[in-house]
């Protein structure tokens, strides 16, 4: 288990792969054109791998992946931490 909290891990990852060092927690990475389709797949694999969860067909909702806050909330729901 990584000792760093999920939101920080998500921020570190997003800032690295999007090359946007100052992402706001509520910034919509899709609406603001920060991510592309290649990244979307990698993001899903990253979330599954890092937080040991499986993203299902029913989880496919941009609202779950739109921002650091949204991803952290989604991870918390999937891991039962919410």
């Amino acid at each position: 288990m990584n000792a760093v909290d999920p939101k920080s891990q998500i921020r570190d990852y997003l800032e690295r792969v999007t090359r946007h060092p100052d992402l706001r927690d509520d910034q919509n990475i899709f609406d603001d054109g920060i991510v592309n389709s290649i990244f979307a797949v990698e993001l899903v694999v990253f979330i599954e791998d890092r937080f040991n969860i499986t993203i299902e067909n029913d989880d496919l909702d941009f609202a779950n992946f739109a921002s650091i806050d949204a991803i952290a909330a989604f991870v918390a729901r999937k891991t039962g931490a919410a």
Binding site: R16, V17, T18, R19, S37, I38, A40, V41, E42, L43, V44, V45, F46, E48, D49, N57, L60, D61, F62
Partner: protein, 378 residues
């Protein structure tokens, strides 16, 4: 690919099957531009169409490194046969990853057994590399959808029972499963291709084609960035591994020919410029093998870096295959330009590899992005 002890036994079985069943028919498949149904059935019977699926879905639970070895051995024998594994595998993997529970339950066992053959309908007459923007449309009509548009260059489209189709739905790119016998779907064969001539390509026309709403794969709006991307990731790995097989075939043919062909009083393998080409082929083969193996290991670990590493493997293996096939033809001289030797077929097949599942130029554009984002983390 470079085998570990774990892959040696399956590799021997894959090679034995490919040499006995596929290789002897490769020239005929290329010449006739048809893939024999009995050979397709034999491949299916071996469980080679989707062996990475879990056993409960009809697969063998095969790891991706071993699946890469299978694809390599099939690609070494016949690129059209490798095309079957690629296109069928792309759709199967997309359903396995993003299909509904009902789609998975009803389709995966049939796809694994080859009782249904699947093809991926992505490209359109005016949509190629910009595949995220299909012109075809789907609109709601009660509990069904009406699909309109055209798809081009659909590998195994002549034979497929099921198509994974991308179209605009509610303004967003979405993915749909369309049965071959759907009313409003017309399938037209495409012949006269440069390479992989037995891959039975087809063009599709959808005219108010009726599709049940439950045939949407994933969710509307995720058709390209999740469903098609999953298929393309799988396809790139398959093509990369197939290119390793093609590279090996080029090297083996060139070694055999240059060891027996005599000019200037000696076998031509003794000439330095011949040796230089053999050396390049051997090193490029080894590099491509290692890249594919690394990508396969990351896929098995479900590591997000697998996407970038698979692109690199596909780029390197396909460009190397084109160079190796060109050199193989050159080493064979006039014989290489004839159908008496397989290298002319290798040359034509290799060029196709640089175009499909992300052209060399698209991959060059994307891979550079990973250099800017991934290197700082390593």
């Amino acid at each position: 690919m470079v085998s570990t002890a774990r892959q040696e036994e399956p590799r021997a079985a894959f090679r034995s099957f490919a040499q006995a069943e596929i290789l002897p028919r490769a020239a005929e498949i290329d010449r006739d531009q048809r893939f024999p149904e009995d050979l397709l059935r034999r491949i299916a019977k071996q469980g080679y169409l989707a062996p990475w699926l879990p056993r409960e879905s009809g697969g063998q639970g095969m790891d991706f490194v071993t699946y890469g070895v299978l694809t390599e051995e099939v690609g070494r024998a016949c690129s059209s046969a490798r095309s079957l594994l690629t296109c069928h595998g792309m759709v199967t993997q997309a359903i396995a990853r993003w299909g509904s529970e009902a789609q998975k339950r009803s389709l995966l066992p049939l796809l694994a057994a080859g009782q249904r053959i699947a093809a991926f309908a992505l490209t359109e007459p005016t949509v190629g590399s910009d595949a995220a923007s299909p012109q075809g449309t789907a609109v709601t009509a009660g509990d069904r959808l009406l699909l309109n548009g055209e798809k081009s260059w659909v590998t195994f489209g002549q034979r497929a029972d099921l198509f994974l189709v991308l179209a605009r739905y509610e303004g967003e790119t979405s993915a749909f499963l369309v049965d071959r016998d759907s009313p409003g779907l017309t399938v037209s064969p495409v012949d006269g291709l440069l390479g992989t001539r037995g891959a039975m390509l087809a063009n599709l026309r959808f005219e108010d084609c009726l599709v049940p709403k439950k045939n949407i794969v994933g969710k509307p709006g995720f058709g390209f960035n999740m469903v098609a991307s999953e298929a393309l990731n799988h396809g790139r790995y398959s093509v990369a591994c197939g290119c390793v097989g093609l590279l090996r075939a080029c090297l083996e043919a060139s070694v055999a020919y240059t060891a027996t062909r005599r000019q200037f009083g000696t076998e031509i393998r003794e000439h330095q410029l011949v040796r230089q080409k053999i050396t390049d082929m051997m090193i490029n083969l080894r590099c491509a093998e290692l890249l594919c193996r690394h990508a396969g290991e990351l896929k098995d670990q479900r590591d997000s870096r697998a996407i970038a590493e698979t692109m690199m493997a596909k780029y390197y293996a396909s460009t190397s295959a084109v160079r190796a096939a060109g050199d193989a033809v050159q080493l064979h001289g006039a014989n290489g330009a004839s159908d008496r030797y397989p290298v002319a077929r290798y040359y034509r097949d290799a060029k196709i590899m640089e175009i499909i599942e992300g052209s060399t130029q698209i991959l060059q554009t994307i891979i550079a992005e990973f250099a800017y984002t991934d290197l700082p983390a390593r």
